[in-house]
Each structure stands twice: as C-alpha cells, then as structure tokens.
Symmetry: D2
Subunit: 472 residues, 4 copies
Amino acid sequence: MQDRFREECGIVGVFGHPEAANLVYLSLYALQHRGQESAGIVSAKDDILISHRALGLVADIFNEDIIRRLEGSAAIGHNRYSTSGQTLLKNTQPFVVEYGRGGLAVAHNGNLVNAVELREQLEGQGSIFQSNVDTEVIVHLMAASKGERTVDRVVAALSQVRGAYSLVFLTPHELIAARDPYGFRPLVLGRIQDKDSVVVASETCALDLIGATYEREVEPGEVLRVSASGVESFRPFPTAPRTSCIFEYIYFARPDSRVYDRNVYEVRKDLGRQLAREQPAEADIVIPVPDSGVPAALGFAEQARLPFEMGLIRNHYVGRTFIEPRDAIRHFGVKVKLNAQADVLRGKRVVVVDDSIVRGTTSKKIVQMLRHAGAAEVHMRISSPPTISSCYYGVDTPTSAELIASENSTEGIREFITADSLGYLSVRGTYNFLKNGEGNGFCAACFTGRYPVPVSDPGRTHQLVLFEAKER
Amino acid sequence: MQDRFREECGIVGVFGHPEAANLVYLSLYALQHRGQESAGIVSAKDDILISHRALGLVADIFNEDIIRRLEGSAAIGHNRYSTSGQTLLKNTQPFVVEYGRGGLAVAHNGNLVNAVELREQLEGQGSIFQSNVDTEVIVHLMAASKGERTVDRVVAALSQVRGAYSLVFLTPHELIAARDPYGFRPLVLGRIQDKDSVVVASETCALDLIGATYEREVEPGEVLRVSASGVESFRPFPTAPRTSCIFEYIYFARPDSRVYDRNVYEVRKDLGRQLAREQPAEADIVIPVPDSGVPAALGFAEQARLPFEMGLIRNHYVGRTFIEPRDAIRHFGVKVKLNAQADVLRGKRVVVVDDSIVRGTTSKKIVQMLRHAGAAEVHMRISSPPTISSCYYGVDTPTSAELIASENSTEGIREFITADSLGYLSVRGTYNFLKNGEGNGFCAACFTGRYPVPVSDPGRTHQLVLFEAKER
Amino acid sequence: MQDRFREECGIVGVFGHPEAANLVYLSLYALQHRGQESAGIVSAKDDILISHRALGLVADIFNEDIIRRLEGSAAIGHNRYSTSGQTLLKNTQPFVVEYGRGGLAVAHNGNLVNAVELREQLEGQGSIFQSNVDTEVIVHLMAASKGERTVDRVVAALSQVRGAYSLVFLTPHELIAARDPYGFRPLVLGRIQDKDSVVVASETCALDLIGATYEREVEPGEVLRVSASGVESFRPFPTAPRTSCIFEYIYFARPDSRVYDRNVYEVRKDLGRQLAREQPAEADIVIPVPDSGVPAALGFAEQARLPFEMGLIRNHYVGRTFIEPRDAIRHFGVKVKLNAQADVLRGKRVVVVDDSIVRGTTSKKIVQMLRHAGAAEVHMRISSPPTISSCYYGVDTPTSAELIASENSTEGIREFITADSLGYLSVRGTYNFLKNGEGNGFCAACFTGRYPVPVSDPGRTHQLVLFEAKER
Amino acid sequence: MQDRFREECGIVGVFGHPEAANLVYLSLYALQHRGQESAGIVSAKDDILISHRALGLVADIFNEDIIRRLEGSAAIGHNRYSTSGQTLLKNTQPFVVEYGRGGLAVAHNGNLVNAVELREQLEGQGSIFQSNVDTEVIVHLMAASKGERTVDRVVAALSQVRGAYSLVFLTPHELIAARDPYGFRPLVLGRIQDKDSVVVASETCALDLIGATYEREVEPGEVLRVSASGVESFRPFPTAPRTSCIFEYIYFARPDSRVYDRNVYEVRKDLGRQLAREQPAEADIVIPVPDSGVPAALGFAEQARLPFEMGLIRNHYVGRTFIEPRDAIRHFGVKVKLNAQADVLRGKRVVVVDDSIVRGTTSKKIVQMLRHAGAAEVHMRISSPPTISSCYYGVDTPTSAELIASENSTEGIREFITADSLGYLSVRGTYNFLKNGEGNGFCAACFTGRYPVPVSDPGRTHQLVLFEAKER
C-alpha cells in the first residue's frame, strides 16, 4: 500500500527538431519520477500522427526501432500515474484520436473536477468515448466546437472545464501548450538554440538532459501555439489567484529542477533550515531518509551545526514487488529499500529527516529499524506541515480518513511511530519562509482543507462498462 | 502474394448459456478457415462487457485463463481477414464501444459500399472514430439515433447503410443478429436443446462442434433480437432479390457445413460431376488439388469413371511463411504446401481438379510440378467459371487487372499455365445446375461484372491518419 | 491422452551446400510429422559449431535471422518426440558438446536398450552427463575412445551400444551417418546434383522439398563418412537379420515418401486392398479416418467396388489443446479434429477404415459420432494387425496393459467400440502381402511380442536429479 | 564502454530454512551491485536439485511461481558479471551438474589462473565440458576424484587449482563453503537465530535484509561443511599471506556492508579524510560523484571543514542503454546518469570527489559538465591510488594499455580531464591508513603491478567452439 503522495504525470513537447521523438523520449526518462505506470509518445509527420504507448518504464517501453518509426519534427510525450482512470492500456496517454479536423494528440498533467457531468452531456448528444480518463472530455469538446483553428477549439474546450491542467496538444502541423488559470501544475518553456526548436516540459531537468535552455514558465492561464510561424501566446481566460502545488517543492520534483522559478534543492535545504529553527533537537547526528530527505537533512544539519551522516542506505535496484517469505522478516517492507547502518548509529541520538508522513506506517518501521540498529534516541523531523485533506487537483492521495494527521495530534502520531520526538514544519512557517503566504501563490488544501476551486462531487468518477479480459 | 479469393470473416453469437464465451471460442475455431489474421470475443455479464482481441489464430489467442475471465451467459465472436481496414490491432473485431446507452459490441461479415460518405457526415457533426473499419459507422449511426430500444437503433442505422452484412450485436442484456436484404453472406440459427440456448453463426460446422442443432438460416433482411424474453424476428427493410455469394459453395465454406440450406460437400461433388459432363478429358487418373479440390475431383472421377488418386500430398504443418534459400528451389512456393507423387503419376495422363484460378501462378507451378514428377499429360479442370471482376461485398479479391481471366481467353490461360488442356465450368451450367439461375438466388458479379448493389466509388476507403509505431 | 503410436524423431544432414542450414530447416519442416515437441539445427563453419534448439514446431522455432546465423556449408537437424528423456529443453537434439577433439553434434532416431548400464559405467569413471537422453552415452563413449579419426570413435562407440539407431554426426569438417545392423529406423541418402551436395534424411519427402535426388537407403549396419574427400562407406559391424519397423508403412511415414525402397501411399493402398479381401463388409460406402486412413480406404473401396466418400472432415487448424466446457460436449475429443457429415452418412451402411487401434477410446468416439450423424451400420476395418506389445526400438507406445488388443479378443474390442463389425488385417496377410514374411525384413514385435534384440530391463531409464524450476 | 572496474560476482548460500530459496533470492537482490548480467538459484529437496538461471536482474528473473518451485531447505545463489566466459546463458551460475555422486551445484566469486591447462588435461582424459567458465574445471576435478565424501572431493579439487575463489557448493544434503588461502574475495558467515539456519554470503548487507546475524568471516583457506550434523570447519591447505582485494573498500561493496570485519562506509569516510590531508584544495564546496563518492566526499568535507553539497544529482531510473540522438547531445553519456546543478555550482570553486579513474573519459565529461553549469574551478580528488595494472583475481578491468594511469603522469591525466587540479590518495597512505600495509593484508596488484599469485599466461582463456545462433 502506497505510503507517499504521488505526482500523477509528467508531460513534454518538442517542436521543430529533426529528432523530436528521441528528445521527447529522453525528456520522459528525465521525468520518470513523475509517473511510472505507463508512458507514451506521439510524433507528427506530414499529415499523420504516429504513436507508441505501453505500461511500464520509459527505458523498457521504447527501443531504437520504435524511436526510429516515430518520425517527424514535432512530438509530445507523457509519463503516468493513474488518479482518474484505472491502470489500463486504453487509459495511457498521450490520448490520440482522429476527428473531423484530422489527427489530434493530447498529454495532460492534472485533474478536472467537472469531467463526469461534461461526459454525460456529450454522450447524450451521441459522442462515443474510448477511455475513462478525464482528458478525453477535452477532445470531445474540441470535436463539437465550431472553431476554425485548432487553437480556437482548444480555448472553446478549456472554457468549459474546471480544475487543474497543464496540457500539450499535437496536430500534424502545430503544438499547443496550455496551463490552467490557477497554475496548479508546473510547466516550463525552453529552447534548443542552434536548432530554433521549442520545448515545453513539466520540469527543467528534462531541458537539461536534452541540452535545451530554460526560458520561463508557461504562465497560469496562458495558451501557447507553436508552429512554423513561431510561438504565439494567448490569454483567453479570466485571471485567477495563483495556487501552485507546494508538494512539487516538498517532494515531487527532482531536486535539480527549477520549478515556479526556483531551484528545488535550494528550497528543500531552506525548508530543512527552517525546520531546525522551529523544531530543534538535542542530538548527535542528523540523517536523511534517502533520497528525497537528503536536501532538507543537509539544511537541518547545517542550521543545527550537527554532523550529517548516511545512516540509512538505499538499495537502488528496487523492482515492482518483492516476494516476502511466509515466515515474515522484521521491517521487510522498508528493508528492501533501506538498510540501517549499525556502525554509524550505535549509541547515537539521531535526528532523522523526512519530507512528509502520510499513513505513518513507513515512518514507524524506519524508527524501529533505527532503534534495532542501535540508535539511543530517534527524533523524527518532517520538512512540511501535517497533511489532513485529500487533493483533487492531480495528486494521488489517500482518503482523508487514511491520512494519519487528519485524525491524530502530533503527539498521537509520535506515539504511533514510536519516536522519542516528532516535529513538523508549521504552515505559517512554510509559506512565510517561501515568501508566498497562503493566498500568495500556493495551494494549501492538503494542509488546511480549504480548496481554491470548488469540488462539487469529490468521489464521483465515470464507471467503466468495458473491460479487457487480460488487464483485470 | 495471395493466389486465392479470401473470405473475410466468420461470426458467431451465443445467448443463454453459462459457458457462452467457451462455446464462442470453439465456434471460432470451427470457423477458422474464414479468417486467420485476428480473432476476438466479447462477453456480457451483468452491466458490463468483457473483451479479448488479438492478431493470430484462435488456438493461440485464447487460453483457459482468458476464457475464464470472459464471464457471462452471452457472447459474440469474430475471425477476420482485412478487406476494409488495415491489419491493425484497433481494426480487430468484435468492435466494442461505450456510448450513451452503455456497452455495445458488434461483429461484422461483409462490406458496406457507402461507409466513407457516412463517416464524413458523422465526423462533420463531431463524432470521433477509433478505427477505419466500416463497421464503426454502424455504431456511430446507432449512437446518433434517438431510438429507445437497442433494436430500434440497429434498424435506424442499417436503414442508412448499403452493401453486404451479416452482423451480431451484443449488449449487456441482449444479442441481435441481422442480415442484409440481399443475403450476400451466410448466417444460420441454431439451438442447444437442453439449455434452451440460442446460437447464430456463419456456418453449421460451428453448430456441430458445440453440439447445437441447426434450425434455419437467418433470412435475408431479417433482424433477430434474442433476450431473456426469447427470440423476436423483425422484417424492417424493403425486400430485395436474393443474391447470395456463390463462392461459399465453390471454395470458402467448410465441406461439412450446410450453407444456404444445402450441404457444401454434396454441392461440390455435383459441380465436379457437371464439370466432367461439360469438360471431359481422355485420361488415366483424376487427382484433386487438396484439400479444397477433393469433393469436385471425387465427383469428376465418378462421372468420368476414372480412378481417383491422391497424386498431390499436402503438408499440414504450414506456417505463415517459409524462408526460401537464395539459391532458389524449383516450384518452392507450391512445394512447401504440396508434394507430387512420382510413383503415382509416372507415365499417366492426369486430370487435376481445382476450384478456381485467380492469378494463374499457382496453377502453373502445379502443372509443372506434376510433369516434373512424370505425368505424361496434365489436364486442368476448374469447378467454377472464370473470375473476371473484383468483389465489393466482403471477399478479398485482387483488382480486375490481376485476375488472369479478365484479360485472357481460356486458351491464353492454358498456355500460361502450360497445361495440355484447360476446362472451366460454364456460368450457365453452374447456375442451372444449382437450380438457381442468375437472378434466381446467387450473385454472379465476379463472373459477369454485373453488380446487384451499385458501388458508387469502388476504390475509396477512409485513409488512416493515426498509426502505431509498432504495427507498421 | 495419446491414442496413437508415435514416431519419435526425424533426422537430416546436409553436407557441401552454401545454404546447408536453410535446407536442413526445410527438411525438418517436411519431416514435422515425425516429431512435434522440439526441433534443432547445428551448422559447422570453420572450426566452430553453431546451434539453435527449442521446444515447438519448426516453423515457429526458426526465423530468417536465426537461419542466417547458422552459417556454414554443413548442418544437421532433428525433430523430436520424447521416448527416452523427459520433454525438457536440455533433452532437445541435436545433442552438441565440446570434447577433446573439438565440437561434435549428433541427431538420433531410435532407442538404445543398454543405455542405463553404459551410463553408470561412464559416471563411475568420472564422466559428467548433461541430459538424460540415451544419445549422450554415445558421445561419452566417443570421448573415452582413443581412436584417431572421428569415424573410428563413432565405430568404437556404436560397437558398445545395443538397440535401434539411425544417426547423423557433425564435426566442423565432416558429416557421419550410421544405421544399426537391424535397420530398425529408416534413413535415406540423396544428392543435390548441381551442387554435388550430399543429403541424408529419415524419409524421401525431405529430399523432394529441397530438390534433392533419392539415391538409395543408408544400409543397415552401414557407416557413411561425408567430407571434402567425398563419401566413404564402412561396414564395421557383424551383419544381422533385417528387422525394419513396419509401422513406418502403416502410419508413421508421409504417404509421398519412399521408405525401405517402396512408395508408402502405394503400400497403404495395397494394405487396404488386402484388408478388403480378408475382411469384406456388406456396405454402401467406404470412408477413411482422415488423413492417415485415406490411402487404405481408397484401396479398400477399389477392391470392394464400393463408393469412396469423405464422411469425416478434418479440421486442419488443430492446436495443442482445446478448452472443453465444464458442461461437456458429446465426443468432444474427436470432434475438435473430425466432423461427421450427416448429409453423406444418413441411412448408409458405412465401412470406416483406420490404420490402427491403440487404446480403443478414439475408435469408440468415431463409431458413436458416425451413428449420431445417421449411419445405419458402422463397420470398422483396420489396415494392420492388433497391437499387443510395447516397442523398445524408438516408438512411443503405451504399456502393454493399456493396449486394448493385449487383453481383449477382436469381438471384445468390437463390443467396446460399439461397431457393428470389426476386422483387422492378419499378421500373415500383412507380411506375406509385403513379400517380406516375419524374419524376412520387418520387426513384428508389437504384433507378436517377439523382440529381435533382447531388452534386459525394459522399464529402466535414468532418473534425473536435476530440474529446471520453469520446465516442470 | 565500461569506465569502472567491475566486481564479477555475488554469492550466497542458506542451509536449514524452510524458505531457503526465498532467502537466497532476497540476498541476491541485496547483492545485485556485485553482478547484473545474470543470476541463478539452485535449491535442494530430497535427492534432487532444482535450478533457475537467466540473464537479467534478480527482480526480473524470479517471480513467486519460480520461487515456489525452488523447494527445499537449502539453496545457493549467484549474481554475475563475466570475466571468464562470455555472456551466455550456459555460462550463468550456479553451475549445476549430475555426476556419479548425484547432483552438484556450485557458485563462484573469483578467477582461477590455471583453469585452461587443467581443462586441457581433463579433456585429454575424456571429460566433456558444457561451458567455458573456469568453475567447471573444479566440478570435473571433483568427478575424477576418488574421495568418499563430497567435502573430500572439494578439497581434492581445490588443491589443484590456483587463484582467487570464494565458493559455495550444494548437494542434496549438504552445503559447503570455501575461500582461497589468500582471502582474495570476501565471504561471511551468519545465522538466523530462531531457525538455527546457516547463511554464507559475499557481504553482510545480504544478512541484514533477511534478518540474519553476522558471525564472522569465512577465513582464508577455510572449508566449511554445513549439514544436518551442524557446521564443521576444515583447514586443508597450506597457509598463505592474506591479500584481500582493497577495491571492495574503495568501490565494490555496499557502504552498509561489513567487509573484512570493518564497516565499508566508515572506511570510505576515512579514505576521504586521508585524501583531504594528502591532497587539500582551496575551494568553496565539496561535492561527491554520487552515489559511490558520497562517503569519501563527506569525509573530505569534514576534514577540510568545507560545506558538503549535492552538486550532481543522479537519475535512478537508469536502463541498460539509452538511444542518443544522431545530432549528439553534449556530455550525453554522463548526463543520462548525472545532472549538474547550476544553482548550486554557479561561481563556486568545487572539489569533486570520486573513488577511482579508469579510462578518464567519464571524469573528463564530469569536469566539463561542472564547468558548463558555472563552476569557477574544478578540483578532482580520487579516494584511491592510480590504477596501472589489470586484475586476474576476479575483477573485470580493462587491459593495462586502456588504464589512463598506466601511461600518464597525474599531471597528464589532469590535463586530459581538464581539471584545475587533480589529487590521488597515495599507495602508502591508503595502506598505512588502513593499518594493513602492503604485505599486511591487502592485494595491491592493480596499483603496483606486483601479483601475489603468479599468472603464467595472463591473456589465455578457453576459446569456445560451440555457439548458440540466438546469443551472439
């Protein structure tokens, strides 16, 4: 059972490069941490679109032969976790269809909060759906639009949907990128100088790998059309207060990425420093829960002037699942990923820094494993506030009832995880520190339960009536 | 390169049996000769449809695990060759969609002659297509219909299409079978007595294997609805003169099937007898081109009072393709399927009976192989008239220009295939003999070029704009 | 459960042809009926041997890429059923090893009766075995030999084994063929004229496909060495009375093959004629159990002057296994292969001709299926004598106890299979007719229980102590 | 092209546990860093051995079904890189054979220096080899031995071989572990307390994962026999000066392992501290080449009192290979694994700590990537001496000519990698520091060219004469 919040998707688009699909493939590899269930690429050549999508990791899905067949100078790609839509092949993205205007592909990071009602309206008018991803609603709205240009149809469709979206569309002759007016999910714009190629991607680490230069964010509410005529920017929607997802800083994004125009690693170190100020501890060493906890632990150790040590070693050959003996091994679930170093920990008072606690079960196993390895005291420090509410804007979270902090006080959680002390970063501290107080740029719904875009019927999704005998 | 006409599809439906999918699977296996590119089954359980479709042979596509997951007491199935729509996974049938009324699956044998114009109309109104099989047009017409019952929507859709179709539809709670008013393609109705189960299938050999009793043909122009309330028959279309495909008798159907209410093996023996009357030969033995030529050769030998021998032996382990050495083997293409028996043929004047000549290249190799094995004379006899025109009603035929008989006299063909003599059955003889003259029950378009249903734009099909990188 | 005797293997070797592996591959395809569990090819190029072996059918195991990698101008191949050695990948042939003299491959048709004791001796001296096929004993005997030339080591090894063997050996520079002194299993020699290439194969149908000319049998007790110096023949063993397997004529060999210097189809027709003389029947039609029963049924019909009809139609798309419904279908096991034609059989007195009865269960289902289809009387005729004893010379037979004829009279069998009458060919009739009485050329052990080569410990095989977790 | 020394193998054995194979599988997963080309497990149940071996990673090779079939209470396992023997399926280990004494499996970490001459002797006596791994020689020596007990045969065989070996043998009823008298490769002994199970493994991280307690090293020259009678220790060989491989500390072993009785992470930090003493640098920050350089960089930063930063971020989803665009990306080969953080590095004087330089090409790319990201100065520090000689004791090293340090001075290397300064740890410093000077416990052949066990014919390996058409 998942004991992390999970980012649902990474998206990328390349326009105007002779090896567009290959660059998209490498970008997806750089964005692999944003979705590991499936991946896909669609390229445009002359008047056709060519696609390849499959379940699995990027490096397993694509080979030289497939990349070579994804011809053309424009392409888009997608990595996926499923928040809306089961883990089915037909739900993999980019979503690709033929409609009256020719071929159209779209890759989506985010989640729409009025997808089900729009779908029911469209079906009532004779539309036939192929999947149960909310993205398909956008495509049907485009097909039903009378707009002349594709970009007009994109605007017409997006004017009817509500929620979080960073999108890239591909037609045989243009690439369109769009970001919702709230700026929930990240999206950046870059260029490959010598080729005059345009790249859009969820994070800058994708730009770095393919040698593209970071230019700026695609702005909240902006629609960008990239074609042979260059890049055009549209601002067709009413403006809204920016409410970007703060978990990109806390956990999701790669530390070497620039997100919302700041370096993630630096932000995480800052959060660690602030955590040391708010929640100091009498201790001998500071250790991270690797790899995500490393920057915050470095910041904490620096601020607290305590030695930083790798007291937990991560095994990097982690597969999907491991076969546990019937005669169960103590702390097995955590141990296949992390090993505690007795020689480092023995007799020490240890601060262990992690980015968040979701259900608490993993934290408990880590505390116990550290004690078993000889730690004299274990002080857990978390570089974010307690998470008490589910996310409806594209993050895979347990129900509120399963979030340990929604029902328990910090002392209750400490008791559950058996730590000697437990300290979270404060909401105020987090936002003040980021110089963007609540209402000043970040969504805090998961910490506060206050949702910037109303969610009418939170639990409602479209129920599939078609199944594949093989996929269940 | 194909040197046979090819049947495009076999279809089957079972309603009211606890192991419906298993019976459909066995029926598809019995109908394997009607299509070997792909196969699929869709079953209905409660309110959902479950499908499995793949490229390959029935015995390779399905296994016990998959059959077990195809739950429910109703199911339909399809074997396929491609006449409309490329050999792509997305073009495999049964075609299955979710629309406003829930799940719907359909399996189609035949070919529509106005599918492209209907598709363009529908796309102009915002419909999004998933494939380029003409069958999908029927589904979109159903989605756009305002009919209350599914059967009303079926009738509304079929009223707008023109061409050849035998169809089975499946929804979660009913099975609908339909046959075009001309009765182009076969379709039969059977029952499994002790279960009160209903079966529809392309040929009776499917009924035989699963222990069902043959009841009657689904009549041309008939729509059958099978549900918990029993079998209802509708006749919603204007009547038309019957023009069933005669090639089912000549070559397509299994000899042990009953088609258009007559046993195929007996018809073929009769055609062989008539051939002996029309085209006698001075000879020592009669041999068939196995397996399809066996019944006609038996009829010929009986009428001509000549010994019947197996002078050509067929290899039954034929795979998709064989790797020919660069240093080519004489008659290789035919030899991997057939071997000529020198000990049987040596010094003999041989009548060799085949069902048809398409391009003539295979016939030429057979004649040469027989001579090489020692035959003194080779007299080719064909149990059908010369084929001069392409079919637009669901048979995969070469273009007219590739049909050797469209440009050559019988003497010209004889010379090409290097036989000592060549004799075809006459058109008149064929139809008179069948007691169904032209205009009295059979389509003769491939022999005469007279098409019973006008084909406005024969070469026109919908060109795909979406491709899979793996399938090309 | 198998209800046929089964040939265990087909072997082939080609020397002196630039596409040797491709010709071996095609030959194995022509010999596919002799073994369908696994196949393999080994080619020789310069000083190395290259092999490919797998479970499955020839057409599935090899592709163009693999054939291209099997470089060199000499190659041997093998099709396999398992009589000695389980169906394991390591038991597939050609068996290929590296020993002190370099690389060596061997393909074996037959069965050794003293393999286990030889193996135990060799292991006692430090030999390490890789498989449990008896063929490996020969290789170890060769490795232990002090002979200078490979052919000397072959003779040294074969002088120590007892039983049935047709063998082809391949080293980087020569091909050696050998046949046991009794001539149990067939082996023929052919040539490809224009290339001066030499071919050895189990049956002539392999020569026909690759365009080779039949020259003669490899004689019982002969060892042939084929090298750059041409073909040398050796006769190193004491002569023995010829006792070739008669089941090659009755059932195993392809009808278009020449075996023991006679055409198999003609022999089968003759057996059918003799059967009609010995076991006539009052009947209306004669039908074969296709395909193996066709020639004998033609002979029977000709002799009895009765019409020959295809009353049973065979389905040629037979896969490995079929999934039978839990609610069993009547005669299912036979029906997936054969369908009875009611229109042909209705009201008729039917003679049905088959080649043999093993357990009787299939025959019973056929009789019942014919009656169910309307036959008025069913007279079963078998073109061989009753089989009462197991074979130890390379044929896969049930134990004697499972052979219905070992415990039952003909009347008892008739009753079991529910036929109106049952007639076997007599032993005397069979052999007299073949002009080779017992002791005059054929082994009759399965009909008489008299074994020409003593079998000391019939049930004894080497028990494996090594298993693969995947293959069980 | 490989730019690291590579450990060739990890081995493990478990005796006396009901889920032995499952524990071996988890241990192999913990030892995955020691070999990623192939893996295998052999278990013992009653009188048989059951094996599964394949190319690939542990988590991909084994599934629940396979683990369940590896029955029995004893098992051994192996991870592999190939130093002797090509990457072929038949060369995967554990090596498993049947010989006169029954089944025997063996897993080997190390390399024999007299394997080829022993093999030639054995082949001259009639032995037949299955592979070209040197391990097979040991098995044939055992088969040829007249020893009564398996342990006697093990000793007899090992008395004849020379070189580096840590070995585990498995027979149906005992497990035997052995380590060469020099103690080249590591091997530890542990126990699972509550089960009284015995575990041997290359490193203690395997013990940690399965909940076993570390007991001691298997001593150099020790042979351990584990059976139902308990653990017996033998010392059958003359003693030799200990020359354990120091690269286990520098790079190979997992940091959380205890090797040669010291914690690897602590040793690496110590090497980093010593490096800072020997090779200080004027700089602003210290960064590691992750992950292997992290402990030494922490030690360096601590000693030098400089801030430690993660200036290079590693991508953990690395696949086998990545498809580079034809229009090459700058520093591509390194960039798919590491990304340089411009926001951390900009304008800084950077010390970058790595464990070794092999060819120098990777180091050069790292230096350039750091500069490209804005580093003002780049000072490369290496936590081991220059490597100038190939290893013949089980480590995969390039030839001496390919080792940049064998032909170049430190200044020459600095120039090649374009660093502002370059500093290696000294040989003396390394060994003194470890309190085990040369001749006092460690092999220094790769740094000094002085080989503790003479290598008569270094380049000589057995050349295969058998190939698989698929594996080349």
